[in-house]
Amino acid sequence: MTDLPKPPPVTRRAFLTQAAGGLAGIALIPEFAKARTPASWAGRDDHEAMDVALIGLGKQGRAIIGELSAIEHANLVAVCDIDERRLNAAKRRAASAERFASVDALLAERPEIIAYIIATPTHTHRPLVEQLCAAGKHVYCEAPLATNLEDCTAIVRAGAAGSGIAGAGLYARANPVYNRAWELVRSGGVEDILTLRAQRHERTSWRVPGGSPDRDRALNWRLDPDRTIGLAGEWGTHQFDVAMWMLDKAPTSVRAHGGVRAYDDGRTVYDTVTTDLFFDDLLFQHSATLGSTHGRTQESVIGTAGTVRLAGTHAWFFKEADAPTMGWEVYATRQQFHNDEGIILIADATKLASQGKLKEGIGLPHSPLYYALSDWLAAAIDGYPSATSLEDAARATAAGIAAHQASVTGETVDVVMPKV
């Protein structure tokens, strides 16, 4: 197995030179040569689709079924859940997949399946990863990885000890438009980073109807203080990873504040949490709520030359008026947001521009989940590391665990990275 070469840091001078040259200034942010990207896999026919089994058929599992049907190199052949109702419901959506009520039965009856996706509740990940990695399988584990550091460490060690390709369900690092933004940030396009912000706002109670006390308890793990890492952990982890990836550093401490503000239904797990995650003296502010959709899900990297805003399938660059003009921006497509004008960042812009299809590139043609799954499967087939490693996910999860602890205790908490 060969490590993927890490893209070299790009100096701002090089960035401007590359951007201003070629393609008559139409494009674009320079694109690093990559050994493998999901985009480079599109249309490839020199490989067989890999058989995949999915464990966990809740909301995330259902979303994964949808994305797998669009991934040409994936063939969903088995699904597994201990909940009979969910398992039966999957029959309609994943019609050709064999259904199993336990992982043991799945492994025993379909030993030839070598790729497994884990989309079960967070606190159940560790034994599954350990079992599958020990059996030599390729494993994709949804994030956050775990609800405590001990389990995070164990999951990373299990992945390292296994012979398969392990990856994690964080959605930034394999996302083409986030990669474009990463290149802009890392090349100094925003110059000095002042602060970072992110939010995830949805209007949903997080309560799942079970129909019986036992099923209620099993399905409502997010609202159980003993089994959840709350909004800061379950949602924050994904966006903390964006900051950690953009800054290429780990957070040092965190403080958080929350409350039950939207749903007076007896819950004790906060439905609204604000988090300040510190990277030494640099602040990343995060807001999560179950009570409002305003602003939905987005991340911003705010710099002296401009701000990058990310929103799943879209990204924009809001340039300061006194920042130097970049060659590519003159012809770029823009979008108005009240008083601000964003330059739309486009993945694979050079290729699209050469085909005269630049505008068709606005907004990704697939969801961030698609790219995460596609990248891991491509990695498993080709024998490369996944773009999002278990180590990356363990670090982001550690930040999420610390943020949850800070929100519960009201104290500033040091972020301790797992020993991996």
Partner: protein, 293 residues
């Protein structure tokens, strides 16, 4: 005592009304999630939707789709046949060209070719003809509401009402007080009131969406057989056991000038004003006509 829960989806406001209980919110959200998932998969405006994926690739090669999406497309194909082509889920490209997808209308119209699709049940794949792009605007709301109703029934809900932007609705049982769920809609011949219990209702009218063109106002309802604006009924109200069927037939009846050659088996009542066609009659105990105001 009932509670109301709503969400923006399918290009409109979707609302669920059900009896108040400790679990009402969780159950309603479960049903609304089903609608949101279909919205995400069937949106013609989202490049990342499953529908957009089909529209991008299914002209060149068969595109594999999930089992329930294939089931939806198969139901669409069956209804295309039953409606003699008056319902067609492949009008996306035409809607673009006519300016109903935020594009400028294309003044240079190509000769009309009826768009279509080919489904392969063995491989669960779909292919589109050259002129076709899927646009399920005439049936997606109904399909999603059927799924939401199923989600409610899964949790033993026996009384609820779901509607999407007032054009398609599903009644589960009767109201908690035992009376039917009552829907009142304007029509050129006077408001029509429908009393619903365990059935779906859809209403469609060509004036629901109109754009201005050099040739005057143009409605969003096309006759898929000619590519020209529909000239059938000016309002269609249909009732049946499935919201998918009522939604699709409500559009088809705007296209047909009279009754379909074969009476639809998936409708119990229909009123198509102007074309004068009815099933199950009006002024029955289910449908009442009020005098024009």
């Amino acid at each position: 005592m009932v509670e109301r829960f709503a969400r923006e989806a399918m290009g409109t406001r979707v609302e669920i009304v059900l009896p108040a209980s400790a679990d009402a919110r969780a159950i309603a959200e479960h049903a609304l999630d089903a609608i949101t998932e279909w919205h995400d998969r069937l949106s013609a405006f989202d490049r990342a939707s499953a529908l957009s994926h089909i529209n991008r690739d299914a002209h060149q090669r068969p595109v594999r789709v999930e089992g329930d999406l294939f089931e939806l497309l198969a139901r669409c194909a069956a209804l295309m046949g039953a409606s003699e082509g008056a319902f067609n889920p492949c009008l996306g490209r035409a809607m673009h060209q006519l300016g109903f997808r935020d594009d400028a209308p294309n003044s240079q119209q190509e000769p009309w070719s009826v768009p279509g699709m080919a489904l392969d049940a063995g491989t669960q794949t779909v292919r589109l003809t050259d002129a076709a792009e899927l646009d399920l605007g005439a049936c997606a709301k109904g399909w999603a509401l059927d799924d939401a109703a199923h989600a409610l029934r899964e949790h033993d809900i026996t009384s609820a009402f779901i509607h999407a932007g007032t054009s398609t609705s599903v009644a589960i049982g009767s109201r908690p007080d035992g009376a039917p769920w009552r829907v009142r809609t304007p029509a050129p011949t006077g408001p029509i009131t429908a009393d619903l219990a365990d059935c779906a209702l859809s209403i469609s009218a060509p004036h629901g969406r109109v754009i201005g063109t050099d040739d005057g106002p143009r409605t969003h309802v096309l006759d898929p057989r000619t590519g020209r604006p529909a000239i059938g009924a000016d309002t269609a109200l249909v009732i049946g056991p499935s919201a998918f069927a009522t939604d699709a037939w409500a559009t088809a009846l705007l296209v047909l000038r009279g009754a379909p050659a074969t009476t639809p088996t998936d409708l119990t009542h229909a009123v198509a004003t102007q074309s004068g066609w009815t099933i199950g009659g009006r002024d029955t105990d289910l449908l009442h006509t009020e005098p024009p105001q």
